[in-house]
């Protein structure tokens, strides 16, 4: 866009999420999503909670406007409702809540109770309009329904907590949405999952993926205990939790002594050995989570009679649960906001203002209006080359795309690992082919190499496959597209390998590295131990050059699948600029880097051997 005169007369709406988790900004112009980005990508602090000044500056820059030009600014929740919940919780748990109360309230008195003033200051006092405050779950719902390709859909939002709501359901039709039912704090599926994330020794708000990835290694032997003591689940998916097992209302931890007693041990220390017990705990909470998600979906289908479902909220990033809902019905179609967590709330509130506050109509196309979630900054070849020249990097520039793709697919087919930066950065937690590290999934060593030498992370964590959309059913039991990598599907039986007795024994080995190395399919690098895979389908319309690269890789190898993992190391936000990509390239065992039309080979880089990898790694806090 970047042409201010082109926007005169249009309605420019800025959405903001901030102060809790994954701060972000989104800009909607006349109902069209123009830009969206998380603050962490600019500040390089993962899950940054600070006011998203950098993300806002980017969004405005993208449209070529300043705060004076904005017609509306929206915040993704209602602070006074949250304050009401906080004080009621402290009252309900007094006197045990005293310490928490004393720690939490100063921030409210000085900042959070003055949100309008804070936003006004952050916008340099230049914004002249009114501030809008949307309900947290309504923001989630809007982020799921309005960009979806559905004229009408049932809506399900599940997260930790917003103001009071933790789970809501309702429906959307045309330019309206309505949430009709809710579960309220402290009863929360997201917080239940987080409690187990904490208890199994991972960091809450980022380790939930690890719990989900660990679950297939375990047996759900604690699921009955969870259902009997921690959470009561009704047939309609509603639930109630016994708070005597938890400590998050009144304390500084997720679980209470009673919880530890129930499961027979204190929480695992972070970074200590992961035992079969943790794997079983992960499997158990995953089963319970899926049960609630699935029952909610069934109930929602029953009361709305609709054939489409849209979802958002942090729990909607549980792609195993999403896959179950899609496979086992009853909904025919499912669309999930790619930035399903709090970041997506920024987009949601902006769209709510357009459709609800301004009552503007909504046009539904054959595809969604999320633009592949490629909504962040991009960098020109000139900018990239200027930077590389400054750094003294050696690179090859390709004026012809075919030649570039030919070279990169050759490298991949030779089991080289490639950093890939192309076009606008993704909005949301997944790398979707704009800031990705890619490789050949047929390689036996790829998963271990990528985990330990590139990502420097736990060896048990699986990688996700990208598959050409037209070939998805050949490799995976998936009948729908999955452009945002939010659906887990089983690898087709014909691609699975029969395990020998020895390999079956290895699959019971306490050392997860040994289990990971057992080849389970023709695409072992992206096949989890239970033969599942978190699939991204890639199509030419959305993914352009990335699709053409995969197509070329297929022509050379016969394989329509590649490994796709986020372009970062453990604890680092996904790279945004060529500078960050180049640093990550030098700091890891990546073999090649593509920055737009430029290809860099590690073997040719003068700085490759002298780069201080340890300092680079230690600059990010482990997640």
């Amino acid at each position: 866009m970047k042409n201010k005169s082109a926007l005169s007369g249009s309605t420019k709406i800025l959405g903001i999420s901030a102060f809790y988790h994954d701060s972000a900004a989104a800009l909607v112009v006349d109902g069209r999503i123009v830009a969206a980005a998380q603050e962490e990508r600019f500040t390089r602090r993962k899950h940054d909670h600070h006011f998203p000044s950098n993300a806002i500056a980017y969004c405005l820059r993208e449209a070529g406007i300043t705060p004076v030009d904005l017609d509306y600014v929206g915040f993704y929740d209602k602070p006074l409702v949250k304050f009401d919940r906080l004080i009621e919780t402290y009252a309900a748990f007094a006197p045990a809540s005293f310490k928490s109360y004393l720690k939490a309230l100063p921030l409210w008195l000085k900042s959070k109770l003055h949100l309008q003033r804070e936003m006004d200051r952050a916008l340099g006092g230049e914004y002249r309009g009114r501030f809008v405050f949307a309900d947290h779950h309504e923001s989630h719902a809007a982020s799921a329904f309005f960009p979806s390709p559905f004229e009408e859909a049932a809506i399900l939002t599940l997260d930790g907590v917003g103001e009071w709501s933790t789970t809501t359901m309702g429906w959307g039709r045309g330019n309206r949405l309505k949430l009709t039912h809710e579960i309220r704090f402290p009863h929360s599926l997201g917080l239940l999952y987080s409690a187990f994330t904490y208890y199994t020794g991972f960091r809450v708000n980022s380790g939930e993926y690890k719990v989900m990835g660990l679950a297939p290694y375990g047996e759900p032997r604690f699921a009955a205990l969870i259902r009997e003591h921690l959470i009561r689940i009704r047939d309609d998916g509603s639930f109630w939790m016994d708070m005597s097992y938890f400590n998050y209302c009144q304390g500084m931890t997720m679980t209470s002594g009673k919880f530890h007693q129930l499961f027979g041990a204190p929480p695992r220390n972070a970074e200590s050995q992961i035992s079969q017990r943790e794997m079983d705990l992960a499997a158990s909470v995953q089963v319970v989570c899926e049960e609630v998600m699935f029952k909610c979906a069934q109930h929602l289908h029953k009361i709305t009679g609709m054939k489409n479902l849209v979802m958002a909220g942090g729990v909607a990033l549980n792609c195993v649960g999403n896959g179950k809902i899609l496979r086992e019905g009853p909904f025919e179609n499912l669309w999930i906001q790619p930035a399903a967590g709090d970041a997506g709330g920024a987009l949601g509130v902006a769209l709510l203002i357009w459709h609800h506050v301004l009552s503007q109509s909504r046009k539904v196309g054959a595809s969604d209006s999320q633009h592949g979630s490629w909504l962040g900054p991009e960098f020109s070849n000139e900018e990239t080359r200027r930077f590389l020249d400054q750094e003294g990097a050696r690179y090859h520039s390709f004026a012809n795309e075919l030649e570039l793709l030919d070279r990169v697919s050759d490298l991949m087919a030779g089991e080289k690992i490639v950093g890939w930066v192309n076009g606008r950065m993704e909005f949301g937690p997944r790398a979707l082919g704009a800031r990705s590290i890619i490789g050949d999934p047929r390689s036996a060593q790829m998963q271990a190499t990528m985990n330990l030498k590139i990502k420097f992370r736990e060896s048990f964590r699986p990688f996700a496959p990208c598959v050409l959309k037209e070939d998805a059913a050949e490799y995976f039991a998936l009948q729908h597209e999955s452009p945002y990598m939010l659906i887990v599907a089983p690898v087709q039986k014909k691609h699975r390998r029969q395990l020998s007795t020895e390999e079956q024994n290895t699959m019971r080995d306490p050392d997860l590295r040994k289990r990971v190395n057992v080849l389970r399919s023709t695409i072992p690098a992206v096949t989890h131990v239970d033969y599942s895979a978190r699939v991204q389908t890639v199509d030419e319309g959305r993914h352009g050059r990335f699709y053409r690269l995969m197509k070329r890789f297929k022509e050379k190898t016969g394989c329509s699948v590649i490994v796709n993992t986020s372009f970062n190391i453990r604890g680092e936000p996904i790279v945004c600029s060529p500078q960050e990509a180049y640093r990550c390239f030098l700091g890891t065992h990546m073999d090649a880097l593509v920055l737009g039309d430029q290809l860099l080979l590690k073997s040719e880089q003068p700085d490759a051997k002298t780069f201080d990898t340890e300092t680079y790694k230690s600059s990010f806090k482990l997640d």
Binding site: K110, L123, V204
Partner: protein, 113 residues
């Protein structure tokens, strides 16, 4: 945070203690800590999607339910907060929030706060 504010917070906390006692006696249970004997745990949401409600930092339901001693505590705390209203932005001033999180408190706790 000034010592005065901390003293005010300490002085107000007994109100929350009293609120809990009153809640126990009157069986007021906004957090549903006692398991409801109902076939479903879903609660009906009130429709607050009229345009006017989007310009409010609160909600009609909160205003209605936020009574009792906890309500008094909230009202007093908001009054105290007025003394900490951040000043307006000066021209070309780089923004920094009026307050930030305390170090050493887990992220998930702040997510709930």
């Amino acid at each position: 945070m000034s010592m005065i504010a901390k003293i005010v917070l300490v002085l107000l906390y007994p109100l929350l203690l009293l609120a809990r006692l009153v809640n126990v006696v009157t069986r007021r249970d906004r957090l549903r800590l006692r398991r409801p004997q109902t076939k479903s745990f879903w609660l009906e949401r009130e429709d607050e999607s009229q345009s006017a409600s989007y310009f409010s930092e609160s909600s009609a339901r909160t205003a209605r339910e936020s009574g009792g001693l906890a309500g008094v505590a909230k009202w007093l705390l908001k009054r105290v907060a007025r003394y900490y209203l951040p000043r307006r932005a000066a021209p070309a001033e780089k923004y920094a929030a009026a307050a930030d999180r305390e170090q050493g408190i887990p992220d998930e706790v702040y997510t709930l706060w």
